[in-house]
């Protein structure tokens, strides 16, 4: 790994160099009811739009690689015959400016299923290969438990990763493209002082985590606790609204819809992201529903994230970003659910939670 250091104001110069491409980054969208800023990833058109001090975004950057709706194929139909066209879009490079470690890790995890296993999804791969990612070290907020999931730092999957050292940035460079860009701004090799400072900042970040999830032996525990009453307790609260999957950076389940245009000469096959918490997720024609209860669906989501994916890829599908918990109207958070399933009370945000039973 090659490291560089550059003055803070040079970042604007780097932005200008990159801005001939489309740039996506964190921007402020408003404030919540506690007057805390709400951020989201969006196209940015000027460096000043970037809210680089963001703690987390409501939505993940997922939609830039997995749009909520996407045409998988287009058909031209005439009489009895038809032709199918796939891979409809050409991709342009997109610069992602200021993605946190959890979200980069989330993309790496999505790669495992969508790009590296059987039947790779070509449209996803094309989007991925056209991403230029500038990572940014974060300050953990109370909802984050990425440290427990091993995703608080990221080893690959970015071009350049920045850490804020007060008046300068410490840059880890992992692609030649990034290296070439840095050649065009004023930057230097790090000295011993910079390295010390970098280590101190990292250590300080680590100490800030307040939320933890005990993941030891979790795959086995989930199997053992398959019939645990904890699932019913949380299932009774769940509204089956699917918001959790909507905001999650690693939820990729989908449904497919086909439609015919009004002119009856074209048809579309459209993929739309779905959520395993929605009532008809596992319902088949004829009416049988393999997971009719909110509790079984909620359980399934945890199973897929924390057990099935681990079994398949030796790592969890959850990056501990806490978005699902923050967005859930019923207040269902992974740290609490997992602690409950393990039969432990959970200390969340510093307060002791009690079960009603």
């Amino acid at each position: 790994m090659i490291f560089k250091v550059f003055k803070k104001k040079e970042l604007a110069a780097l932005y200008e160099l990159l801005a001939v491409n489309a740039v996506v980054g964190p921007v402020r969208k408003g404030t919540d009811r506690h007057n805390q800023p709400l951020n989201d990833f969006a196209r940015v058109y000027s460096f000043a739009d970037l809210a680089l001090d963001y703690s987390t975004t409501v939505h993940s950057p997922k939609r830039f690689v997995l749009p909520y709706r996407k045409d998988l194929a287009r058909f031209t139909v005439n009489e009895q015959k038809w032709r199918k066209e796939t891979d409809l879009d050409t991709e342009r490079p997109v610069v992602f400016f200021g993605m946190h470690a959890c979200d980069i890790n989330a993309l790496n995890k999505l790669d495992k299923v969508l790009a590296e296993s059987v039947y790779p999804v070509s449209s996803y791969i094309r989007k991925r290969r056209n991403m230029f990612i500038i990572g940014l070290n974060c300050r953990p907020s109370p909802q984050c438990f990425c440290r427990s999931m091993g995703t608080d730092s990221v080893l690959h999957g970015y071009d350049m990763f920045l850490t804020d050292l007060g008046d300068k940035y410490f840059a880890e460079i992992s692609s030649v493209t990034a290296f070439n860009f840095l050649q065009q701004i004023k930057c230097r090799d790090p000295g011993p002082g910079d390295e010390r400072q970098y280590e101190a900042v990292t250590a300080e970040k680590t100490a800030r985590f307040t939320t933890e999830v005990d993941t030891s032996d979790l795959t086995k525990i989930l199997d053992l606790e398959f019939y645990s009453p904890a699932w019913d307790r949380w299932g009774r609260k769940c509204l089956s609204c699917g918001t959790c999957a909507n905001v999650c950076p690693t939820c990729y389940c989908y449904g497919v819809e086909e439609s015919v245009d009004l002119n009856l000469q074209e048809a579309h096959k459209t993929r739309f992201l779905y959520s395993c918490n929605l009532h008809d997720f596992a319902k088949v024609a004829g009416g049988h529903n393999f997971r009719p209860l909110a509790s079984t669906r909620l359980k399934y989501r945890y199973y897929h994230k924390h057990r099935g994916f681990v079994e398949a890829f030796e790592e969890s599908l959850c990056v501990g970003c806490g978005r699902c918990g923050a967005a859930c109207l019923a207040g269902i958070t992974p740290p609490e659910v997992i602690a409950d399933v393990r039969g432990k009370k959970k200390c969340v945000h510093g307060r002791e939670e009690k079960h009603d039973e």
């Binding site: 070509s122 395993c276 024609a285």
Partner: protein
Amino acid sequence: MTNRVTPYDTPGRHGRCRAGDPASFESSFQAEITNIYSLTAREKLYQIQLVDQEERNRFMFRPGQFVMLEIPGIGEAPFSISSSPLRHGNLELCIRAVGNLTNFLDRVRRGCSVGISGPFGTHFPVENMHGQDILLIAGGLGIVPLRSPLWEVLDNRNRYGTVDIIYGAKRPVELLFTYQYEEWRQFDINLQITVDQGDKDWHGSVGLITEILKERLNRDGDALAAKTCAIVCGPPVMFHFVCDMLIKAGIPMQKIFVSLERRMHCGRGKCCRCNIGSTYTCLDGPVFDYWSAMNLKEAI
């Protein structure tokens, strides 16, 4: 020097996401429905032929695998291949009209052009069952996926021991493939058919599959346990009772095979709709040996 970040300029820079440009995820074969036979009020048999002759000959599948059948603008769904693997891209699918696509199919005529992708999924390992007695147990629509391994067994009849089929439907009018029973019987097999509820023209046995199975298992218990492979397919409630009986009769779990059904939207391990616990039915299934199925939470 231009500052545009060019795609593909640094292969492999995204960690392990470095696959080359793969064939389209959505690729499928053009096929044509060449014949349609009404089997019952709800089920029809569709003979489907891949249009391109070379593709048709190259199309290979194993018994128990399924294809995704698509009609543009209407829908796409998984269907078990019900024909002999020897027939390559001349497929037979038996389809019950239950929803959007299947009701549309119910109304199409010969010559209709469809998309076929696959074959997908695991298969019944009949190639490993040489020298064994074969016990096929089907309930209702379950006979459809069983017809393919049956054909493979019949095509190589002398490689197998006894062949028993136990097939049950609710009513006589719901029995599928009635026109073929005599043909099957000519291969020295024991075909037993039962209905839950007879009618005035029905002279066969009336009762549940499990009753016929009990008789069969009692007849030569030990010999059966020693060298029998069982293949079971039917509605979810059936698996439990039937597999229980087979295991009690001493047939090892790894020699009992089931084919499971779940909602599917891709057949390629991507949409997650087919997951059982967290196993993909489309990739790791639909055929599981009973040991694996038992290890899946909520499978059976």
